[in-house]
Symmetry: C2
Subunit: 63 residues, 2 copies
DNA sequence: CCGATTTGTCAAGCCTCCTTTACAAAGTGG
DNA sequence: CCACTTTGTAAAGGAGGCTTGACAAATCGG
């Protein structure tokens, strides 16, 4: 499952740590999701969508 | 995390087994999600949205 | 009322998500 | 060039998602 985290983060000039802080997860989790090592849980996917002010479907892509 | 699975299933007159077959998961998984024992993984949430022809946000509700 | 279907739940086991600690490589700014 | 920040990755452990098999309670249709 691909995602647009890196781009969304870059648009805001946030480090992985910045995003992790906003999501209240570890930096390693952000990195793992961003590099595709695993998908977030559904609750975390909702928090990610919230942080970027968009929908889950606009960040995570079926495929 | 609440969800509208039971209603969506009722609208289509599907049993939990019918839905499980369409999602390619066990009936117990459908039941556990429906009764709120746990949330689906993100990939499964996408499949659920696909089966009902809607968005994840229209099925699963924050809180 | 009876048989069949549907739903709820439990247990054991495996795999995924997320954590902390830790280290190295790569990039950034004086 | 040198310190500092950022990113990638690893290992070990706890919590959660999903499986199969099983059983009982509830509901449905004749």
């Amino acid at each position: 499952m691909k995602n647009r985290l890196k781009v969304l983060r870059a648009e805001r000039n946030w480090s992985q740590q910045d995003l992790a802080d906003r999501l209240e997860v570890s930096r390693q989790s952000v990195n793992a999701i961003e590099t595709g090592r695993y998908d977030p849980s559904l609750p975390l996917a909702f928090r990610i969508a919230d942080v970027f002010g968009t929908q889950i479907e606009d960040i995570f892509l079926r495929e």
